[in-house]
Symmetry: C2
Subunit: 165 residues, 2 copies
Amino acid sequence: MAGGIVALAEQLQGICLGRGLTVALAESCTGGLVAATITEVAGSSGYFLGGVVSYSNDAKATFLDVAQGTLDAHGAVSAQVAKAMAAGARARFGASLAASITGVAGPDGGSEEKPIGLTYVGLATAAGVDVRRYQFAGDRAGNREAAARAALEWLVEAAPGAAPR
Amino acid sequence: MAGGIVALAEQLQGICLGRGLTVALAESCTGGLVAATITEVAGSSGYFLGGVVSYSNDAKATFLDVAQGTLDAHGAVSAQVAKAMAAGARARFGASLAASITGVAGPDGGSEEKPIGLTYVGLATAAGVDVRRYQFAGDRAGNREAAARAALEWLVEAAPGAAPR
């Protein structure tokens, strides 16, 4: 894993252990990359509860309670699904914070409306659920790492102000 | 990700797409490393349904139906829990094959009975659930990669004879 994103995971761990926060994940296009980066750091079991790699739509519904109607209406790569994934992960794991990632990593699956690199990152805390939209311009590996970095950066940004649970 | 384990993921993808098989995962000590490796390969959404990173015991019960009694009696790092995780992932995702990994990656968490590097890999198919025991001798990163490799090798070994679902 690239050193840069492991450093973010170390930073997140320091904040969460210090403040008694727990973290969960719902990953689609990153496919476990954020969880693998977080758990690369020794001691991560002290705050990281786990994650769901919801590569199929069925998994998004079964494990994260994303409504089939939301998937049908907006598609898996959408702000609405990113928010539902984050909220579902936070509720199901009982975590203080949960981040979600859904995007088109490429090289296949792009369209005019949803080009390769389009990625939504969701964040759920006690204060509510929010989403950010990105348009990355890398190849599959680059887009996945950029998405993982965006999720970790947002967790690091939000954790100091988040309420424990 | 090390080239060696991505090559195993490419091999697995070739077999599964050719035979109409689907795969799911339940990862504990590898923390998403197997899912991240599988999804590094373009086209993996054609057979990979997803995975659960069950870092906490609660997550093993909630997402994979591992019985609390099994966790209490044998501990999270045990043949029994590895088998339950694999069976739970296969059932919940509706996959042809599911692999599970639970172990002590280190540097903390080792004991006389369950030393650092002790790892169980489970595999569930239509034919049943089986488990293999390993004692790795690396550091945290080395043990995680060895565990990921063992799971991918077993999937590659089992897929040619596995029934679709």
